[in-house]
Amino acid sequence: MSNRERSIMSSFDFKKGSVQIGYSIMLLALLVLAVTMLYPFATTIFSSFKTNQEIFSFPPTLFPHQFQWSNYAEGFKYVDFIRPLWNTLILFGGNAVISLMIVSLAAFSLSQMKLPFRKGVTLFFMSTLMIPSATYMIPSFLNLQSLGLIDSYWAFWLPAGASAFNIMLLRSFFDGINKELFEAGRLDGASEIRCFYRLAVPMSIPVFSTLLIFSFTSTWNDWYWPSLVLTSPEKYPLASVVYRNIIQSFNLTWNVKFSVLTAIMVPPLLFFLFFQKNIMHGLNLSGVKG
């Protein structure tokens, strides 16, 4: 105990009775919290294997009596999985490439290069954060319409670069790199482009991966805007298809619904568990910089 770092309480506090009682109550509360957090996952996943009778059985069961895999086969009749998945990946790929390029170039320029009106330009980007999306959501739709981008993936790829938050995040990262590194590069005859992609980009791989993760989750989650901008359902990403065919449907049985929900919940969960370190790092980054 002595060699660990203390937190609010020291090991000395634990000798007091009142602290012990308080601490156990706290542990109990956290346990309850953990159960509430995990229970919806458990029902969704386990119910996807149950028969519909078992879901409504009383007293309720958590584990299925027998695994009914046919729920999944049934579910995929309503959501043809492959095509929407492919659409989602195309959307994500374009979003990631274009937004990373636009955002990182701008952030590098703001942070490390000679610029006129730097304050004005920064304000031009950052003030968009102050404007609620309610103000420009409808006009944005009309704007895409007049640009002829309705029903095209460009309507997602290009605006993905217009993210003041990402510029802010990357800029604060670039600010942390020593300016002399780039000065040295320039003195050795490296062009600005070379400085950018041979020095800045390799150094910011961790931040890039954080941004990629954010972009993946938002693309995977977004169901409303795609269903508005894309007019042909065969271009829909997975989330929009599921919303249309599963959430809004009233004649599907619960076990079939759960099978589809489980199927689209698992990839982001695996993704998260896999990239957990980077995601937590990114959260800290955004939390500190605000």
């Binding site: 770092e5 937190s7 609010i8 309480m9 020291s10 602290v19 308080g22 956290l30 919290l33 957090m37 919806p40 996952f41 029902t43 969704t44 119910s47 636009i102 170039l105 701008a106 320029s109 703001l110 290069m113 000679k114 610029l115 006129p116 330009v121 968009t128 404007i131 609620p132 309610a134 103000t135 420009y136 959501m137 409808i138 006009p139 944005s140 739709f141 009309l142 704007n143 640009l147 605006p159 670069g161 217009a162 950018f196 995977w220 989650n221 169901w223 409303y224 508005l228 989330a239 919303y243 759960f258 929900l261 919940m265 982001p268 998260f272 937590m280 800290n284 955004s286 939390g287 605000g290």
Partner: protein, 305 residues
């Protein structure tokens, strides 16, 4: 060395204007894509939104300037009061459930001696669930024959119509959203708490401060800047909430969960009155901006004190 000296000399001899353009050329070039995209996809819609709010938008006959009558119609609409009240109620509930819970939970987690990593993970897990899965899950949990009512039956025979009872539909929505969202806030608070110097606690303990006093006088002031930040972020995001309402209740029962943003969407895509929808958007902007100016002032004052 000699080439460097030559370059410095050369720099001094060129015309200042040429030198300036040469110096700035790459910086501006790097910035250009972002400038274009921001103009095209953020500033144009914002400007158009203000413009449309004074117009009757018609795709066939063309737009027509009609002055303030969009605003007049919006303010005369009887559903406006309902939706504003619902939005405020929704924001209040979100603050009530979602604002204090994360900070308390984060303090509790920071005190865990074992399983701290696991607990962080568990709390954050719902954050990863895609929105559509969240809707499906909670549709089931709130089903009249579903788990929420089964739990309620442990405490008495009362059964709730979670999503179709006018008085509790909004609360149900907020509980579902809080379940998903509070893990993210918890981790941000945790990052702040970890950053507080341990020496402060040590000193306070030697001076005889109890555990609760330490939390009150060291931990909470230590993350106060995060409180302000999270509060503002929460106000901004909840003031525009509509998706969960749309998915779980469709704005009903009897408009009980119709939020302001939801009404904008309805105005635009159900009534196809884009001018009125834009006017509502501009009103929203005015209210939120003045609100954040007021908040900002308060924050500045409390720092001086």
């Amino acid at each position: 060395m000699s080439t460097q000296a030559a370059r410095v000399k050369e720099r001094h001899t060129v015309h200042p204007l040429i030198k300036k353009t040469r110096d700035y050329f790459w910086g501006i070039l790097f910035l250009l894509p972002a400038l274009i995209v921001f103009c095209l996809f953020l500033w144009t819609p914002i400007a158009k939104g203000v413009m449309y709010s004074f117009m009757h938008v018609d795709f066939i006959k063309g737009n027509e300037f009609i002055g303030l009558s969009n605003y007049r119609e919006v303010l005369a609409n009887s559903a406006l009061g309902i939706s504003i009240w619902n939005t405020i109620y929704y924001m209040l509930l979100c603050v009530l459930f979602g604002f204090w819970v994360p900070s308390i939970v984060s303090i509790a987690i920071s005190e865990l001696r074992r399983f701290q990593g696991a607990m962080r993970l568990i709390v954050y897990l719902p954050h990863i669930v895609p929105a559509v899965v969240l809707y499906g899950m909670w549709q089931w949990l709130y089903d009249p024959l579903g788990p929420a009512n089964q739990i309620a039956s442990w405490f008495g025979n009362h059964q709730f119509m979670w999503l179709t009872d006018k008085s509790i539909a909004m609360i149900s929505i907020v509980i579902a959203e809080t379940w998903q969202a509070f893990g993210g806030a918890t981790l941000i608070y945790l990052a702040g708490i970890v950053g507080i110097s341990k020496d402060l606690y040590e000193a306070a303990e030697i001076d005889g401060a109890g555990v609760l006093q330490r939390i009150r006088h060291i931990t909470i002031p230590g993350i106060r800047h995060l409180y302000v930040l999270m509060f503002i972020l929460q106000l901004i995001s909840t003031s525009q909430g509509f998706m969960t309402h749309m998915a779980l209740t469709g704005g009903g029962p009897n408009n009980a969960t119709l939020t302001y943003m939801y009404q904008i969407i309805n105005e635009a895509f159900t009534n196809l009155n884009f001018g009125r929808a834009s006017a509502m958007g501009v009103l929203m902007f005015l209210v939120l901006t003045s609100l954040s100016i007021v908040l900002y002032h308060f924050q500045g004052r409390s720092k001086e004190a």
